[in-house]
Symmetry: C2
Subunit: 181 residues, 2 copies
């Protein structure tokens, strides 16, 4: 699965053939179809694992924090750190969003993560720390957008460290959800 992940990430899902994966692994084709029903299923399994792993990382990061705003910050930082360590998985997540076959599976995982952020935003609104006319869902997705795009641009394309980028992401997002104007 690790090898498949890297091939898919480097060349794309469709251009990567099952033959290529198995010969790269030095095994016969039968092995592949013994463990997976199809190429598609391999991809879905990789996707599910990636989402599970990211979520675990986020949960760990915020486990010991009660303040909702701090939880959002820690969640963002954890996501960027994970993304830095799992470029390949992240690319596949991005690809999955463009393919009708995979968007369903992708969104199921994505929704769970967003729901967490929404919860924190709502809590912060209840505490009067975010304007109460704000739409929690929208703010959550806006933050996801910032984190995703800055990860791709500054960490992947420009090779910057996740820590520094995370500082900027957090700063921008917190101004976005807390700011006055």
């Amino acid at each position: 699965m690790a090898f498949g992940t890297s091939r898919f990430a480097e060349q794309g899902y469709h251009p990567t053939s099952v033959s290529e994966i198995v010969t790269g692994l030095g095994v016969g084709k039968g092995v592949f179809y013994w463990y997976f029903d199809s190429k598609e299923q391999l991809f879905l399994e990789i996707l599910r694992d990636a989402q599970t792993d990211l979520r675990r990382r986020q949960q760990q990061a915020i486990a010991e924090e009660d303040d909702p705003i701090r939880r959002i910050e820690l969640g963002l930082r954890a996501s960027l750190a994970w993304a830095e360590e799992h470029r390949d998985h992240n690319r596949l997540i991005q690809f999955a969003a463009t393919e009708a076959t995979f968007v369903g599976a992708l969104r199921r995982g994505q929704d769970i993560a967003v729901a967490d952020v929404v919860r924190h935003v709502k809590e912060a609104i209840a505490q009067g720390r975010i304007r109460d006319d704000a739409d929690p869902d929208l703010l959550a997705h806006a933050m996801v957008g910032v984190a995703g795009h800055l990860t791709r641009t500054f960490i992947y394309e420009r090779g910057e460290a996740a820590g520094g980028v995370a500082d900027s992401v957090v700063a921008f997002c917190l101004r976005g959800i807390l700011g006055d104007p």
Copy 2:
């Protein structure tokens, strides 16, 4: 080209065959290869046209405005409006970002648009309206991330109107670049 765009957007680039495009159009395969060198070239041409069109729209929107912050706002609104009208093109842009063959061509266009935003941000910093320790490039990309993700989530997936979403995008982004905290 319009038909190709819609097939690519609906089914994906690889799953769409040249045969499918020409039979859908009711013409022979020779016609396709008379006007295009390859399937790849068709895609690149679509991509280039889309980027050109989006940029024209942005330029028109900000042409008569001098204030840099207002220009950013109008640029964001124009982008969302364009995205609402050109879902297919936007999907292909998103896909192009995931395919090594196309990222080069994509980035060339993307960089130009970002450079515009960067210019406005720098101007706003010079006017003392944005903190002068801010990184213009980062702020510009953050806004692109917000606009792109909210477009996909709220306009494409949930079918909301571009106008309303644009209000939220602008509000979030302006807090993000102007806000105090």
